[in-house]
Each structure stands twice: as structure tokens, then as C-alpha cells.
Subunit: 200 residues, 2 copies
Amino acid sequence: MIRVMIAEDQALLREALAALIGLESDIELVGTAADGAEAHRLIRQHEPDVVLTDIEMPGMTGLELAALMKREQRRTRILIVTTFDRPGYLRRALESGVAGYLLKDGPSTALAEAVRKVAAGERVISPELAHQAWSEDDPLSDRERKLLRLAEAGLDSGAIAEETGLARGTVRNYLHAAISKLGAGNRIEAARLAREKGWL
Amino acid sequence: MIRVMIAEDQALLREALAALIGLESDIELVGTAADGAEAHRLIRQHEPDVVLTDIEMPGMTGLELAALMKREQRRTRILIVTTFDRPGYLRRALESGVAGYLLKDGPSTALAEAVRKVAAGERVISPELAHQAWSEDDPLSDRERKLLRLAEAGLDSGAIAEETGLARGTVRNYLHAAISKLGAGNRIEAARLAREKGWL
DNA sequence: GAAGCGATATGACAGCTGTCATGTGCGACA
DNA sequence: TGTCGCACATGACAGCTGTCATATCGCTTC
């Protein structure tokens, strides 16, 4: 019997996934969580084989959860189930040590199948995404990424400088670097391009 | 027996919702569709009582589907199930004549309950959203909205002017109007604020 | 130890943006 | 018929942005 937990913040999807899992006779649902912290607590308590989770969750992302599992040397393995099909996300997920990455676009039959493979120690990636694992590298540095995020929110260079403790000119330098790395014409376009690739 | 159809483009969610509906003894699932056009075809064929659908779908949005039902004078009623909790969306949905608007955040028990109410002719709105029906009006004119969308994509005033056939100064005037109506500090922030409210 | 690199910074300049004053033409409406 | 509001436009100006050249400091690497 494979012991599974679901961590997903949207109640409807969480319970619908539970219903779907409930149809499988060889998989047992041992708990559900609505945010990262609760998920972590329940994992410690139940030690499930597999945790189904989204990337974006309040409190802790699915990727942070995966990294935590590795750090705590638990056998619980993380299976990401998400809408995000941006190239950078899969890469970061793999680097975080997740055991599987499924798109919500895929057929539901893939879900139970993926759970079984992950429980057996295999690594599972949505076929639509497999080719993306080798796609473009994120060219942005941490600082460029951070400043780009602030610019995206509508802060001007002065406000970003205050926020980060950098000089105003330095802010413009970093944004310039990001803009030119991304082949954009201005910071807005740069932020949009980076977000589309999953680099923000 | 209430006859229900599901129109949802994400396969996993579609089938999970089907599993959830399958648990109810007084509700019968008569079909599922992955896009708006297929949904329309199946509705004509099966004439379900209620269609569960998302707003964003390839081909035809859930709102367009609702408007179509009204135009074709069908008794089939549309129940929107979506993630979008932006004020403008609910308003637009109600104007399109949908019979219900549920958030995916809500508990799954609310789903069957909402289906029953909608089938009985009632109008259902997620309680989290009820107060938003009277929330702020969209202050933007069509032109301001359009230019704001282009600005959001990273075009500068010159490029927007070319795109729209307006003079460059006029573009800046419209954006200025949008910025000041929204209380923003620049076009980026204005676009962000408008999008958060569901006005873009 | 020298060379190279990344993070941080400054200054300068052309071009873009946000703001305001002001004007024209057109349709709506009392 | 006059007036109001809206769409569209111009010009001007301060401030912001994108770009480039250049410099310092600390860390890595051969």
C-alpha cells in the first residue's frame, strides 16, 4: 500500500485530487494540508511515501518542501503537480530534488501512475516537459532577478535603491544588465520575458 | 436527477471534478469538454441542467458560453468555477448571465451544493466574493485600458503610438489619465493595479 | 603574487516619461 | 443653439531611464 499525502492550497482541487486518489485500491491517502507549514508537520507525523503538492503555496513552496525533505533525510518523496509549464520552473524543481513534476494539463490517469513510479524510486516528468529540461539557462544573477522583481511591481530606480540599500546608479546598472541579457528594450519587457521563462 | 456537464481545459482538474461529482447520488455527469467549442457542441446534444466551467478556456470563455446560452434561450445554466477572485471578473460574469460563481478556494462540499441550487434556479456566489459585487467600478475608458495593456507588455510610448495610430503625446496623455485615476506612480504600477482589480 | 572576475559605485548624455496648460473638432443633450 | 464632455492633439519642462566609460574592493584561480 502506497501512503500518500496531498498539500495544495485550493480546497476544491485538494479534495478533488483526494477523490481521484481514493479511486485507486493500492494507494492510501494519509492526510491533506492547505499550506507548506501544515504539510511539513503532517509529514513528520505520518511519514508518507509520496507528497502531492503544488509549487506555489502559502508559507512554503513545494520546492522548499522538497529541499527540506533532503536536508532532513526523509524517505518521503515530493511529486509536484502544477500548472506552471515555464522552462525555469522544471529546472529549479529538479535542482530542489523533487521526485516528479506533473502538469495539471495531463490526463488524470497519469497521476496514479506517477505516484506509483515515484513511490518505487523512479523519477517522473510530464512528457510535454521532458525536452525542456535542456532548455535555455537562466542568465540572470540573484541581484538582477531581485531588482527586476521590484521594477516589475512599479517601483522606480530611486525606490528600488532605497528598498535594497544600493545606490540609484547601481540599480540602473543591474537593470541594464538584465535588459541586455534578455534582449529586451526596457525593464518592463525584461521583467515580462523573464517571467515567461520562469526565471522570476 | 440533476444532469451536469464539465467544461475545463486542465485534464487533471476536469477528471478530478468528475470524480467529485461522481460521489453524489443525485447528480449525473453527462459529458466533459476540454474547450469552449466542444462544450457548446455537447450542450446542444445533451441539454444538461448545469455546466461547470472555468472562465479561461481555449476557444470560448465560460462567460461567452453563458451569453450564448441566453441568446439561444437554452435552459442550461452556467456555473463558473475559477481561481480568479478579482472584483472585475465577478461583475463581468454576472453581466454575462452566469447562474453561479464559485472559487476553487472554497470547500468541495460547496460544489455539489452549488450545483443543486443552480439546478433549482437559484443564483450562487462564493461567500468570499458576495461583498465584491458592489465593489469599485472600473474607472478606465476603453482606450486607457487598451494602452495600459500595451504599456504592460513593455512597449514604449512611441511603439504604442505606432500600434494604435495615435500621436505619441496622446498616448502619454491617456496613460497619464490612467495613472492618475488609479492613484499609481507610473504606468507599470497602474497596469499592475488595474490587473489586480480585474480591469485589464 | 598577478590576473581576472563580480559587486558596487560615479558621472555624463540622449532619449523617454509624467505632468500640465492649452487647443480643436465632434456628438449628445437640454 | 449653446454648452458640455470626450477623443485627440501640441508644446514645454523636470525628472527618470537606458547606455556607456570608468573606478574601487574583495575574492578566486592559476
